[in-house]
Amino acid sequence: MNNHANPFEYEQATTFAPSFVRDVFIEDHNFTRFIQSNRNVFLLGERGSGKSMTLLYNSIAVQALKSETEKTQATFDYLGIYVPCNTTLFHKKEHELVSNTELAGIISEHFMVIGIAFAIAKGVGSILKDIDKVDNDRLHEELVYVLGADLLPNMPLMQALEAYLQRQSRLSQEHLNALQLDEFRRQAFTFTSLVHPLLTSIARLPSLAKPHFLILLDDAHDLNVYQMSALNSWIGYRDRSLFSFKVAVADSVKYQYRTASGGSILEGHDFLTIDLERPFQSANSDFGKLAKDLVERRLSKINVDVSAEDFFPASNEFQSSIERCKLAAQKEADSRYPDPQDQKKRRDYVYKYSRVKYFRERDPKANLPPYSGFETLAHVSTGVIRNLLRPCYWMYDAVYSTLSEDDRKHPMKSIPSDVQSKVIRAQSEQLWKWIQSSLASTIDNCSLEDARRIHRLLDNLANLFRERLLRANSEPRALAFSISAMTEDLSSNIMPLLDIARRAQLLYFRSGPAKDDGRRETYYIPNRMLWPIRGLDVVGQHARVSIQAREIWAAAANNTAFPFTEMDNVQGDLFDAEV
């Protein structure tokens, strides 16, 4: 299989060429337009939710390419400096060698700002290559003066800056290795001694016309506590005319919002938060539209001009069965709610029960239902882009590998529904196997017993959701749950398990309105890829089941089945607006 031919590549965005990022990134249907603004922004989302892609798309390299392709003059009002935090400079552990916390902070900030300055040099270098010689010399002179930097004269200015930073990094490393801490202190950089003057000098270039720098920090959850507090202090600056930060964080629980001075930065007041993982949505929701655009954009990369629905068709048998069930549900709704005023009730009834009828009327001994169609793919992603692309990738691969050399020369027009179903079921089965065999060894601080408990909890949830799908009258397709009657003791048992499941992307945390008006509560959505192999309907409904904390713990610790009654505590209507 030629990987480059597969349009549904879902590897880390940082491995993609700028031209690929430019071509496949979808700007609409999300909040990413806030990136091109003076506000500080935190992008939150687990791995695969599109954080790196969003930052990379706004980097100088991709924006310059975009202008080139669109044949427009790049304006450079906003200059995005992409700064990956998972590099050796950011990960240096020398601060752990000193007991003095102030010095540990200085060491951490020093290497971090070198990393940022290096990224600035790299990013800005690409747009300064055609700079006027007079401006170049003036900037050179200014940097030598302001930074005290002896920049090499015979190489492009930004490359000379990179070389200078590399040398300073090495020198400081040598001082630390030799425990020459006074020497290190004398040479240590801070944000205000390196990054701020560097940006100020670059912004003075006449060709850039006072740009605003977007410092795009990726994987900021990897920063150490000193670096986080330093970054937070910079975010707390009131003056955002020269620069702002766009910070991508995968583990939002781990990220701390304290500043170096002991205060804290506040959401809304100091920064905006963009949650890239969306609550589960319908085809008409923002995520539904984003998923469709994304698939179609990827298809256009291989010259396939068909809709996402046509490329991933649902099985004919399934479609006609659903249609038949819909008509039956419509008849039931008409007889239950004959009043012409009850149009909404009839519509809700059909929405809730037509798919349920399909699952209930299937022969209990029948094979698993077919899982195919773009709608199924969008729902099974649980609102995470990589979860959408992964099965698409393997479906494409499965079809491509069966093609003859000749057929491979022509664009693929669709993925047969049986192939889709096979891949989805295989991935679902693989996910359950992974929990049993690899969860404990993959996720930090997850013991074998924790993994067993998570498996038991998800297994019992699958049974409960299946029971509800086949028997419940109220909200039978609910695939989310909230936890009631939590006590301190139960919380200390349950929450670490849920946190492991979250980090393993088996469970997604969401916040929504509680039954008590004005309050919000956390609710939980298991990864929907778990459900096909258990015969569940992955197209859930906007409702959540309230489960008592002691029942959650009993299921996880003792494998006790969740009790099912017709009077289950289910919250529905609050989510129905998206239908």
Partner: protein, 334 residues
């Protein structure tokens, strides 16, 4: 049932600095006052004022928490006697509500006397508490609202007490003790409050205050869940968004004035240089794809600048403009 608050812990540590028996006497007097107020008084306030936002012991605990946040980690500025009087004043500041909301700050004496059994040894304490707690709201004899001015320097147990400092701390702490915990969502949704009071409860359920001493600011965060009813935007309980926004703007300005007023009388509060406010808008349970910059009112005065309203300071907060933008966004969200 009262459980010890961080304020109580700090008070005990402060009193430990005093020699016995003063230390033990003051701690005993504090505990007996606390028991009396929490067990005999505050739980009965809803009987006389059922429409008030919460004035239960949870409110007292909240005022104490806010005062701790205002003080921060500075444990040396207030003397043990001052900290003790601050605690007693917090306990008694709202007891007057038992006899009705109007001028409740002037109805503290009877309840205080009953709590202390009219014992002579409490006369100087009573004098201090009535001054400090009495200044947390209301107006002066001359008709203005500069109540802290009249508190002046007090004497208690032979110690000099900076009355204005304490009165300012209590007043701002009380002003900041606002939030969803002060109202009942159930009563609000079941029309159990008088119509004219509903907006206060809706406000309380929407606001959160954060005291950020290190960065010298008081941050107000509003979370408004919007509903489209008959083409109008509401924030629940039939309150129109424009009415709520006006109400919020007025409260932001009032809180900022309280901040400036209190810091005038308190060195402890002088670090607070800014009030900021931010609005989160939700529709149908989901955050609106809508961004608005925070409102920041700081102490900086630029010569020549006129005093401006929020709407004059921020074009984006103009009621008409904002309601129109929100309506558009909610419509798009449907």
């Amino acid at each position: 049932m009262w459980s010890d608050q961080p304020f109580d812990t700090r008070l005990k540590l402060k009193l430990d600095m005093l020699a016995s028996p003063t230390r033990d006497n003051l701690l005993g007097d504090y505990l007996s006052a606390r028991r009396y107020v929490t067990e005999e008084i505050v739980k009965n306030i809803p009987r006389s004022e059922p429409d008030l936002t919460d004035h239960s012991e949870a409110h007292l605990a909240d005022v104490m928490r806010r005062i701790c946040d205002l003080i921060g980690s500075d444990d040396s500025y207030l003397s043990p006697h001052e900290f003790y009087l601050l605690g007693i004043s917090v306990l008694f500041h709202d007891v007057g509500n038992l006899h009705g909301r109007k001028e409740h700050n002037k109805k503290i004496a009877d309840i205080y006397n009953a709590a202390r059994n009219n014992e002579d040894r409490f006369h100087t304490e009573r004098n201090a508490v009535l001054s400090i707690a009495g200044a947390h709201t209301g107006s002066t004899m001359s008709g203005n609202e500069d109540t802290v001015k009249n508190v002046t320097i007090l004497t208690f147990d032979g110690s000099r007490i900076r009355g204005q400092e304490l009165a300012a701390l209590l007043r701002l702490g009380d002003e900041l003790a606002e939030g969803p915990h002060r109202t009942s969502a159930y009563l609000l949704n079941h029309h159990s409050y008088k119509p004219e009071n509903v907006i206060y409860h809706r406000y309380a359920s929407s606001v959160e205050h954060r005291i950020d001493r290190v960065d010298g600011r008081i941050a107000i965060t509003y979370t408004l869940d919007l509903e489209l009813k008959n083409g109008n935007l509401e924030v629940g309980n039939g309150i129109k968004i424009d009415d709520m926004l006006r109400f919020c703007y007025a409260r932001i300005v009032k809180l900022d004035l309280e901040r400036r007023y209190c810091k005038f009388y308190s060195n402890m509060l002088s670090v607070f240089k800014e009030t900021s406010a931010y609005f989160n808008f939700y529709h149908e349970g989901h955050p609106l794809d809508f961004e608005i910059e925070p409102i920041v009112i700081s102490d900086i005065v630029i010569p020549g600048d006129a005093i401006k309203t929020i709407e004059e300071r921020y074009e984006s907060y103009g009621i008409e403009h904002l309601v129109s933008a929100l309506s558009q966004e909610c419509g798009r969200n449907l």
